[in-house]
């Protein structure tokens, strides 16, 4: 399974699924499936999404579950 932080990045940029879908050329439902973890994107789509958010692809997608955001912030502070 491929884990992702798509919903976090999308919320941060205040983008709707429809807006994001239009920018990467997919159906808005596909963004929903990706966020829900029901679909693993192709390399092309993963790279497009990473480029759109301006982050390396491994910050957006991972084979291991991402640490919760609160825990990551706590680690950074300490």
């Amino acid at each position: 399974m491929v884990h992702n932080r798509l919903s976090v990045f999308r919320a941060e940029r205040n983008l709707s699924r429809k807006d994001l879908a239009e920018q990467v050329g997919v159906n808005p439902q596909t963004i929903g499936y990706l966020e829900r973890g029901d679909y693993a994107p192709s390399v092309e789509l993963a790279l497009k999404l990473a480029a759109l958010f301006g982050v390396p692809v491994e910050q957006l997608f991972s084979l291991k579950p991402f640490a919760p955001l609160a825990a990551s912030l706590k680690n950074q502070e300490s």
């Binding site: 709707s16 699924r17 429809k18 050329g25 997919v26 159906n27 808005p28 439902q29 596909t30 929903g32 499936y33 990706l34 966020e35 829900r36 029901d38 679909y39 994107p41 192709s42 092309e44 789509l45």
Partner: protein, 165 residues
């Protein structure tokens, strides 16, 4: 078969329960309608049942007309270039199941006709089998409906689409 509309290029969005209900209704009303319509008088058939059968078949065709313009039927029948990678991947999976179900249904039907014909010719058991033009007509259009709606039906009973924001 997918009916494109200029006002809704992605097809009519319908909730999953509605689409599933339409598919179940189509797959139930068409065969029941045909049976009622073609039931011979010696088996209890008559004008009233024939009319009821006609209404059931007409209702199933109306359900098909609604489905033909849906976003799900778009995913099942639209040209590949019009779909994104997730839609194509899901459709390919659905096509595999659709092929298995459709070919099994046709094969079982042929086996049934072969066995009932053999038994009737041997004078053992005279079970119903298609014999008139009306019977074959009902089977032909039924298989036609099944072949164009089954990929969408497989998709409808698969993953539930995410809620849109």
């Amino acid at each position: 078969m997918y009916i494109r509309s200029k006002s809704r290029p992605s097809g009519r969005q319908m909730s999953t329960p509605v689409i599933r209900g339409l598919i179940v209704g189509l797959y139930t009303l068409y065969p029941v309608g045909c049976i009622l319509q073609l039931l011979p008088e010696s088996w209890g058939g008559g004008t009233a049942l024939s009319v009821a059968g006609l209404i059931a078949v007409a209702a199933s065709l109306m359900m098909f007309a609604v489905l033909a313009g849906s976003s799900l039927q778009r995913q099942a029948q639209e040209a590949e270039s019009e779909l994104d990678e997730r839609e194509r991947a899901d459709r390919n999976k659905a096509a595999f199941y659709e092929h298995s179900v459709f070919s099994s249904a046709v094969l079982l039907g042929l086996i049934y006709i072969m066995l009932t014909t053999d038994m009737a010719e041997a004078g053992k058991l005279d079970l119903w089998r298609p014999s008139t033009g009306d019977h074959w007509n009902a089977i032909f259009w039924g298989l036609g409906l099944l072949s164009v709606t089954l990929p969408g039906a497989v998709l409808a009973f698969g993953k539930t689409p995410p809620d849109m924001d």
